[in-house]
Amino acid sequence: MTGLFSEVFLSALLFGAVTAAIPLLLAGLGEQISEKAGVLNIGIEGMMLAGAYLGFVGAFYSGSLWLGFLTGAAGGAAVALVMALLCVRIGLNQIVIGIALTLGLEGLTALLHHFQFSRSYPRLPAADATVIPLLSDIPVIGPAFFKHHLIVYLAVALVFGMGYIYRRTQLGLNLQAAGDKPAALDVAGIDVVRTRTIAVLTTGALAGLGGAYLANVGAGLFIPFITNGAGFLGIVLAMLARGRPIWVLFGALLFGVCLSLTTAMQVAGINIPTDIIQMLPFLAVMIMLVLFGRRASLPAALGIPYERGAR
C-alpha cells in the first residue's frame, strides 16, 4: 500500500471525492426544498445544465468565479421559473414539464456550446482555494477537506442553514405544510402557490449553482451533457434523505467517495473489469436504499398541483 498510496495521493482522492460530491449536494439540497413543498422537480437536470452553461459563460467572460456562480444560479432559477409558472401556478403535470425542460436544456446548451465554444474549448484557470488554518495541516485530511474554494464551505454551511430553516422557522413550517396538506396552509393565510414558487425557484438556484460548480471548478470548462445524470442522482439523494439536509450531505459524500474508490482500485491495480468497479457508486446507493429506504415517507401532496377549493 505505502508505495502506491502516498499521503498526497490519498488526499487527492478525498479531495476529488469532495469536488464530485458538491454538485450532488447542491442539487440534492435544492430538490429537497421542492419536495418538501410538494413539487417533484424532475427538471433539475435541466436546471443544472443551465447553471453549468451560464455559470461557465459568466466566469469565462468576467474572469470571476463568483460572478460565474451568480450567473449559474440565475440560470438555474430562470429554468425553475418556467417550471414554477407551468407546474405550480397553472398546475401542469410535473413529470411532463420536468422531463421536457431537461431535454430542452440538454439540446439548448449543446447548441449554444456548438456555436460559441466548439472551436476554442476555453478552460478556466484553477479555482483558488480558501485554506482553513490549522485544520488544513492535518495530514491527508487537511489538504483533502480544508483547501477548497470558499463556495464548498458555504455549501456545507448551507446544509446546517437548511436544517435550521426546516426546524426552527415559520418558513420551514410553511414549506412542510405546503407539501403535506396545502389546503391547511392556505386557510392559515399563507399563499400555497407563492410558497411553492419560492421553493422551486430556490431549487433552481441551488441546482444552477451546483451546475456552475461542476463546470467551473469540477471541470473548469463546459461541454454538452456535462452533468451526466447528476440531477437525477440529486433526486435520489433528496428522497433518500427524507427531508433532512444532513443526509443529503452524507449521501453526496458517499457517492463521491465511491467514485474516488473506483479510481483508487484501478490505480492499486486490482484486476477487476473497470465496468464492474464503476457500478460501485450506484451499488452503494442501492444498498443504502435497501437498508434505510424503508417507508421513505414522502410528503402527502407531492406531485399534486394545488388548486384552491377543488374537490
Binding site: T169, Q170, N174, A177, A184, D186, V187, A188, G189
Partner: protein, 522 residues
C-alpha cells in the same frame, strides 16, 4: 388581523350576502342566497347534505368566489379574495374537513401563518392557549403530532385555532360532529359567552336540538336556495319543540314531531340462536399513531345490534379494522357463523359475509376520481355478472348501478360523476348500498351517520335496523350515545382499546353507559 373590539353596534351586519350564486359543473350549489350575519348572534345554518352550506362558507372564507351577487363587510361591498384576506377581515373558520397538517405538532399548526422569517413563538403561544383552554374547559397536547390525535381532539384544536385569531366572525362548519355530549354543551356555552362579547358566529349543524339550544337566528338552505329564516325575535318566542317543528317543516315541508326521538328497537334478536359473530380475546399491537386493542371478547346473535360506545380514538377503528382483516391481530379468535376467520384475508372475509362500512368515506371507502357506478362495485371487482371472464360488462354495471342509485336515493348528476364530487351524505349512501348487497351476514358500521343530514341519518338508521331485522348481526360503532341508545340491543363501552363493560339496553342504560364512559363501574 386583530384589534376589533366589541364596540361594533349590535344589529348591524358585520357580513352580509346579497344574491350570492355559486355554480359547479352540473349543479348550482348556491342560488341567490341572502344572509345577514350580526354581532352578538349565533346564526345557525341548516340544510340537508349537499344543500350548499359549506360552499357558502367557502366564499366567506376566501376559498371560493361567488359567480353572482356580492358580499358586504361592514356594509361595504368587499370581494373576499383569499383566505388571508378573510383572516384579515376578522373572519375565522373551522372547516368541515380537517385543515391541520398531520405531520406537524399541534403547536406548529396553531402557529402556521406567522411571518415567514420568524422563529415560531412557542412560549407566547403556550400562554395564550392556556388562557383560552381554561375558559373552554378542554386540554390540548401542544407537543403532540396531529396525526396522533383522534378526530375529536383534532376538532378541538381547530376550534382553538379559530379562537386564537381574535376573529370577530367565527364560523363553525359541523364542528360538533366529533365532540362528546359534554364537549358539545361546553362549546355551546362558549359560543354564548363569545357572542355576548360582541362576536358574530355562524354555526352549521345537522342536529336540530343543537340548533335550537345554541342559536339566535336560523337560516335554512335547500338545494342551494335559502328557504326560510327564523329571526331572533321569533326564535326567543318559541320553545325548543316548536323551533324543531318549524325547522322540520322548512326543511322537509311536512309536519313531524321530534324526528330524533328515541325509538325503542324492535326486539328481533333471537335469544336462542347461535351467535353469528364470536370474538374472543382479540388483541392488536399499538402503532405509532394508534392505540392497540387488548382482550376484546363479545358475541352477536342474528338480528342483534351490538353498540360500541366510547370517546373517539379509544380503539374503535382498530377494532373494526381487525375484524375486517385490514389490521393484523396479535392474538385472539374471530368466528363467523362458527368458522374461524381470523387468518383470512379481507376479501375472503367479505366473501363469507362480513361487511365493513368504514367511517373514512373518501380516504378509503371510495376512489374519489372514479365514477359513482364503479364505486358501487369496488369490493366485487371481477365478480359476475359485472365482470365475465375478467371482462367488464358495462351494461350490467350501469343497470345495477341505476337500480342502487334509485333504491338508496343517491343524488348524483350522473353515474359517471366522480364520487368525490358528491356531498358527504350521498357518498355514504353509495357505501351503504355496497355493503348491504347480497350475501351479508355480519355488518360492522363505523360511525354510519357522521356528517349526515337529518333525513339521511334517519334513512341510514332505518337501513341498519332493517339489516338486523333481516337476521344479520350488526356491530354499530358510534360516538353518538343517543344513536346507540335508540338502536342497540346491547351496548359495550370501549376505553383505551379494551371493552370495559357491556350493558343491556334497558331503562337505565344511559346512566350505566355514561358511568362506564367516564371510568366508573356500571
Amino acid at each position: 388581523m386583530s384589534g376589533f373590539s366589541s364596540s361594533s353596534v349590535a344589529g348591524r351586519d358585520i357580513v352580509a350576502l346579497e344574491g350570492v350564486t355559486k355554480r359547479f359543473p352540473g349543479i348550482v350549489a348556491n342560488d341567490s342566497v341572502d344572509l345577514s350575519i350580526r354581532p352578538g348572534e349565533v346564526h345557525v345554518l341548516l340544510g340537508e347534505n349537499g344543500a350548499g352550506k359549506s360552499t357558502l362558507i367557502g366564499m366567506l372564507s376566501g376559498l371560493q368566489q361567488p359567480d353572482e351577487g356580492r358580499i358586504l363587510v361592514d356594509g361595504k361591498p368587499t370581494p373576499i379574495t383569499s383566505p388571508r384576506h378573510a383572516l384579515a377581515l376578522g373572519i375565522g373558520t373551522v372547516f368541515q374537513h380537517m385543515m391541520l397538517v398531520p405531520t406537524l405538532t399541534v403547536a406548529e399548526n396553531l402557529l402556521l401563518g406567522g411571518p415567514w422569517w420568524q422563529r415560531p413563538r412557542t412560549e407566547e403561544l403556550a400562554a395564550r392557549v392556556a388562557e383560552i383552554t381554561g375558559t373552554l374547559g378542554i386540554t390540548v397536547k401542544l407537543q403532540a403530532k396531529v396525526s396522533e390525535l383522534s378526530l375529536g381532539e383534532q376538532q378541538q384544536v381547530e376550534i382553538l385555532r379559530a379562537m386564537l385569531r381574535n376573529s370577530r366572525l367565527l364560523i363553525l362548519d359541523e364542528s360538533t360532529s366529533m365532540l362528546t355530549p359534554k364537549g358539545i354543551d361546553e362549546l355551546g356555552a362558549l359560543m354564548r359567552r363569545l357572542v355576548e362579547q360582541g362576536l358574530a358566529i355562524v354555526f352549521i349543524t345537522h342536529k336540530l336540538k343543537e340548533a335550537a339550544a345554541f342559536g339566535d337566528r336560523i337560516s335554512v338552505l335547500k338545494l342551494g336556495r335559502k328557504v326560510g329564516e327564523i329571526p331572533p325575535e321569533r326564535f326567543r318566542a318559541l320553545g325548543e319543540q316548536e323551533i324543531v317543528a318549524e325547522i322540520v317543516e322548512l326543511m322537509f315541508g311536512k309536519q313531524k314531531d321530534d324526528p330524533e326521538a328515541v325509538e325503542r328497537p324492535v326486539r328481533t334478536a333471537r335469544a336462542g340462536a347461535a351467535p353469528l359473530l364470536q370474538v374472543a380475546d382479540l388483541a392488536v399491537a399499538p402503532t405509532d399513531n394508534a392505540p392497540g386493542l387488548s382482550s376484546i371478547s363479545f358475541d352477536i346473535r342474528p338480528g342483534e345490534i351490538l353498540g360500541i360506545a366510547g370517546i373517539d380514538g379509544n380503539g374503535q377503528k382498530q377494532l373494526a379494522e381487525a375484524l375486517a382483516g385490514q389490521r393484523t391481530a396479535t392474538s385472539g379468535s374471530v368466528r363467523l357463523d362458527g368458522a374461524a376467520i381470523e387468518t383470512l384475508s379481507v376479501g375472503e372475509r367479505r366473501r363469507r359475509g362480513l361487511r365493513y362500512l368504514t367511517d373514512d368515506r373518501l380516504g378509503e371507502g371510495t376512489v374519489g376520481t372514479f365514477p359513482v357506478s364503479i364505486n358501487f362495485f369496488l369490493k366485487q371487482v371481477g365478480a359476475a355478472p359485472f365482470w365475465r371472464n375478467g371482462v367488464e360488462q358495462r351494461a350490467e354495471i350501469d343497470k345495477r348501478a341505476t337500480q342502487l342509485v334509485r333504491e338508496y336515493d343517491v343524488r348524483t348528476p350522473s353515474l359517471k360523476t366522480p364520487v368525490a364530487r358528491l356531498s358527504g351524505g350521498n357518498i355514504q349512501k353509495v357505501l351503504l348500498a355496497r355493503e348491504l348487497a347480497e350475501g351479508a351476514k355480519v355488518v360492522i358500521f363505523n360511525k354510519p351517520t357522521y356528517g349526515l343530514d337529518l333525513a339521511n341519518t334517519l334513512a341510514s338508521r332505518q337501513r341498519i335496523r332493517d339489516t338486523a331485522a333481516r337476521g344479520l348481526a350488526v356491530l354499530l360503532i358510534s360516538t353518538d350515545l343517543e344513536e346507540l341508545l335508540g338502536m342497540c340491543d346491547r351496548i359495550a363501552v370501549i376505553a383505551n382499546g379494551a371493552l370495559v363493560g357491556t350493558v343491556e339496553n334497558v331503562d337505565d342504560a344511559r346512566t350505566k353507559v355514561g358511568r362506564l364512559m367516564i371510568g366508573l363501574a356500571a
